[in-house]
């Protein structure tokens, strides 16, 4: 049972980390090169669909990762440290998302065709927060994967 939970944890964490990375490498860079109006349209459209996949993936990664840790009989040393760091990093992904990215997304959704002047500063703030949660997501995945491989 613990092995199955470990496999599921690693798969979920990989999907979370890869999903965050492709947004950083692809979407963020694309929006920077578009006009403000087109960038906001793409951002809002992407956000509408991604909120069905990424938040559940992040919650599931934490939940299954915690269940795997609790169900293991003998976890100690480096493996325990890696699993705890991974869980904390997954919480950081969710925390940054809920505190910064989600409120900014909600404000952008209310805009009409005319993009307000504050957009540039808001986009930079969104990009910075996304970079932080992407880094946290990579840390979570690498820690889960290494803990799994050495466990």
């Amino acid at each position: 049972m613990a092995d199955a939970l470990d496999v599921v944890t690693v798969v979920l964490a990989g999907l979370m980390a890869g999903g965050l990375l492709v947004v950083e490498v692809g979407l963020v860079q694309t929006i920077r090169r578009l006009s403000a109006a087109t960038g906001v349209r793409l951002h809002v459209a992407f956000d509408h669909y991604v909120e069905w996949s990424m938040p559940p993936l992040t919650i599931a990664t934490f939940g299954v990762g915690l269940a795997a840790l609790v169900s293991e009989d003998h976890v100690g040393g480096a493996e325990l440290v890696l699993r705890v760091v991974a869980l904390v990093a997954a919480v950081a992904v969710a925390g940054v998302s809920q505190l910064v990215n989600v409120p900014l997304n909600a404000r952008m959704r209310t805009w009409g065709p005319r993009v307000p002047d504050e957009y540039e500063s808001m986009r930079r703030r969104w990009d910075r927060a996304h970079r932080v949660r992407t880094l946290a997501g990579q840390v979570a995945f690498v820690c889960f994967a290494v803990a799994f491989a050495i466990g």
Binding site: D3, G18, A149
Partner: protein, 149 residues
């Protein structure tokens, strides 16, 4: 050997997560745009994910081959072979779809041409196939990594 297993799982996970996000969020988001905007967005966006996913796919494949050649095959060989087949399919689909997609790239202000939308639609289908294949690769590598512990 543990290091190699961790590497293949991490690389295939990053590829699978990116492909899944493209299929579930980016593809549907792009379909909401009109042809002119779509052409402009695709010109900037379509080459970007390939910057890491192609490299990560090839590296995961090479590390998987190294595991097949040098690893303890008894517990993990079937999962590793399945992962290698999945990676091959993923690369073929991605390379062909990206090559066709690049044909729709236009200079700024150029109007889209007839057939662009069909190419973009096929590209989205290819992304869905890539997502399924890469998810299978990640699952195979993760299962293969398990019995080593």
């Amino acid at each position: 050997m543990h290091t190699l297993y961790a590497i293949v799982v991490i690389l295939s996970g990053l590829v699978a997560g990116g492909a899944l996000n493209n299929a579930l969020a980016m593809g549907p988001a792009l379909r909401t745009l009109d042809e002119q905007t779509l052409s402009e967005v695709q010109r900037h966006w379509s080459p970007l994910p390939a910057r890491y996913s192609a490299l990560a796919s090839v590296a995961a494949g090479l590390a998987g081959v190294a595991l097949l050649v040098f690893g303890d095959l008894r517990p993990a060989a079937e999962a590793l072979v399945a992962a290698a087949i999945g990676l091959g399919a993923l690369l073929l689909v991605s390379i062909e779809a990206t090559r066709r997609m690049e044909l729709t790239a236009r200079g700024a202000g150029e109007p889209p041409r007839a057939g662009d939308v069909a190419v973009v639609r096929r590209w989205h289908t290819a992304q869905a196939v890539a997502a399924v294949a890469s998810l299978g690769v990640l699952a195979c590598y993760s299962v293969a990594a398990g019995p080593v512990s």
